[in-house]
Subunit: 352 residues, 2 copies
């Protein structure tokens, strides 16, 4: 299956990118510099040549500012459209979600010691740990503030929905860190972690646009359920790509998750299967030394032989079907439903 | 002058301590453990023996949970009373301020590499940098959420007042970090940094109690102005204690700020004075090696001779007078005004 970028993602880039740049411009200069760099709005020294003063907009390739994958902003604009308002009304909520997503990436990169993101050095390696912590803190506080500029009750509900998602993001990252020290992580624990770390913010992205424009709770809840299932399907797919994805698709070396001994869902499913291959895999992953390319291929083969690949593909399919069912059960304009479905298909498309 | 702890501080401990413990109990277990330890509600392994389940209340000495200095909570309860409501109504806002204060301490300890706080190992040294970053993040998000549980417009105003203070806290800490790398920090820059890092949250603590119960803007603004002046006077006093305070008062070794080459207000005032002693001090502080006890005494003498001590004492007096003037200009019950004045005197009392 070929993955075609849904058109809504492009639209979201054009609508949300400038608003995100304007939000970041509200931060104090030291913090703004780090946030703009992390978001790809600026180089390490601040605004790029020719960028509007104070915003640091447009990266060298002429790509709209702050685009990234722009999936979450696209979902949030659709969420507003699901409530029968123009996508522009969803922009503040989309900016808030994108700020929270990036707050979490900034802090995670420090905790995980990651030195590269989106083919650039991570912010903490450029500006130091302190400056990167502060920039993340500032983006988190700013996200809440942007939602509350709409002083009506819907602003409050949106802010509380976002802070609930933040608490789950934090729980998920905490569990992920803790898993690194353990060799007995169970599949339910791993699914809970993925639900917290990935699906919770995706559920928030899908519902907060409607919440922030005062939609009925039934719509918001239906969209949140869709987002939770789609988010889990996305993480399952991402974990499959982390082992079997081609470098030109993932932007990472092949089998990178095995190289890093990551307790991803296919690995934990394989380890939990209780087969001879499970035990062989456990021995291989417990080794102190780095694994050779040949051993990484053996490990990938063992994950597959122990049923880890099939389980993950099946579970991704189940979650995707549940996501579609949520869409079918929730009242919204037909074109909006079709676009949500298109994004769900896009982010779970097989490319291995 | 002898400093007597105002009675309102004790009351605030009794009212706010249990509510703070209950708020922390809402966090997910991994994060809760770190937050409770940092707040002194629990030992490194979680709730202390005999503590109520889920709260980890009461530290070994039988001191009320989460007391710390309890100055900010006391100011917030007074702020509610200034709006003619019972102090209990100020508890959620006091909890939110205390959560933000401690979020910032948790993150600052990581950035500054501090290994001890309140005579205990700092959280990051016990649980690791990742867990301490996450616990701070969680406390920041929780603070906003607690204010928004009051879904009326006053909840939104309070949340936005808090997030404005958070942005200034971040700016102040960012400036403080940047100052470490510079030897040309000016006195206005240093005052701005102190205003951001200390006075902004103090101003928030003094006003947010009234904001959260729906007081008139005139009252909230008058209290915020009082808090900003009192907060600056507090920082000026703290900086004097950092050089001339007795260890039994400060809990730190004598002349600790000089030992750490901290660009505190008396030091920057002395360096900016343009005297022969200013230049001598600059040479001493620029030395690569650690300063001996004798050299530290010489440095303290140079700060004094260059006028740094007198300038700081005078400025603290000016700020304290301005704080009292704000109280006089703002309508509130006489007993509340007297208690605000008492706390301002207490936190700026000379003990050197």
């Amino acid at each position: 299956m070929t993955a075609v970028m849904p058109s809504g993602v492009e639209t979201a880039r054009d609508l949300v990118g400038p608003a995100l740049a304007a939000a970041v411009a509200r931060l104090t200069p030291d913090v703004r510099k780090v946030a703009a760099y992390h978001l790809g709005l600026a180089g390490p020294e601040g605004a790029l040549p020719g960028a509007p003063a104070g915003t640091g907009a447009r990266s060298p390739g002429g790509r709209p500012p702050g685009a990234g994958k722009a999936l979450r902003p696209a979902l949030t604009l659709l969420s507003a459209r699901a409530a029968n308002v123009a996508p522009e009304r969803g922009v503040p909520a989309a900016v808030a979600v994108e700020l929270v997503h990036n707050f979490s990436l900034l802090h995670d990169d420090i905790m995980d010691g990651d030195t590269e993101r989106r083919h650039r050095p991570t912010a903490w390696t450029v500006y130091g740990v302190g400056a990167a912590i502060l920039a993340g803190d500032a983006m988190l506080a700013l996200a809440q503030d942007i939602l509350l500029e709409d002083a009506g009750p819907q602003g409050v509900w949106a802010a509380r929905a976002l802070s609930a998602a933040v608490q789950r993001l934090i729980a998920g990252q905490g569990a992920d860190l803790a898993f690194e020290q353990r060799d007995d992580v169970s599949l339910p624990e791993c699914l809970t972690m993925a639900g917290d770390k990935t699906a919770a913010l995706m559920a928030c992205a899908c519902s907060i646009g409607s919440i922030h424009v005062g939609a009925a709770p039934e719509l918001a809840m239906g969209l949140a359920a869709f987002g939770a299932h789609a988010g889990l399907a996305f993480q399952l797919t991402d974990d499959l790509l982390g082992i079997w994805g081609a470098p030109e698709v993932t932007g990472k070396p092949v089998r990178s998750d095995l190289r890093a001994r990551k307790k991803s869902l296919p690995v934990v499913a394989a380890l939990s299967a209780g087969t001879a291959e499970s035990r062989e895999l456990a021995v291989l992953l417990a080794r102190d030394e780095a694994l050779s390319e040949d051993e990484l291929m053996v490990a990938a083969g063992l994950v597959e032989a122990a049923g880890g690949k099939t389980w993950t593909e099946t579970e991704a399919g189940t979650q995707l079907a549940a996501a579609h069912q949520c869409l079918a059960d929730t009242g919204m304009p037909a074109d909006v439903r079709a676009e949500f479905a298109g994004i769900a298909e896009f982010i779970t498309a097989r490319q291995w």
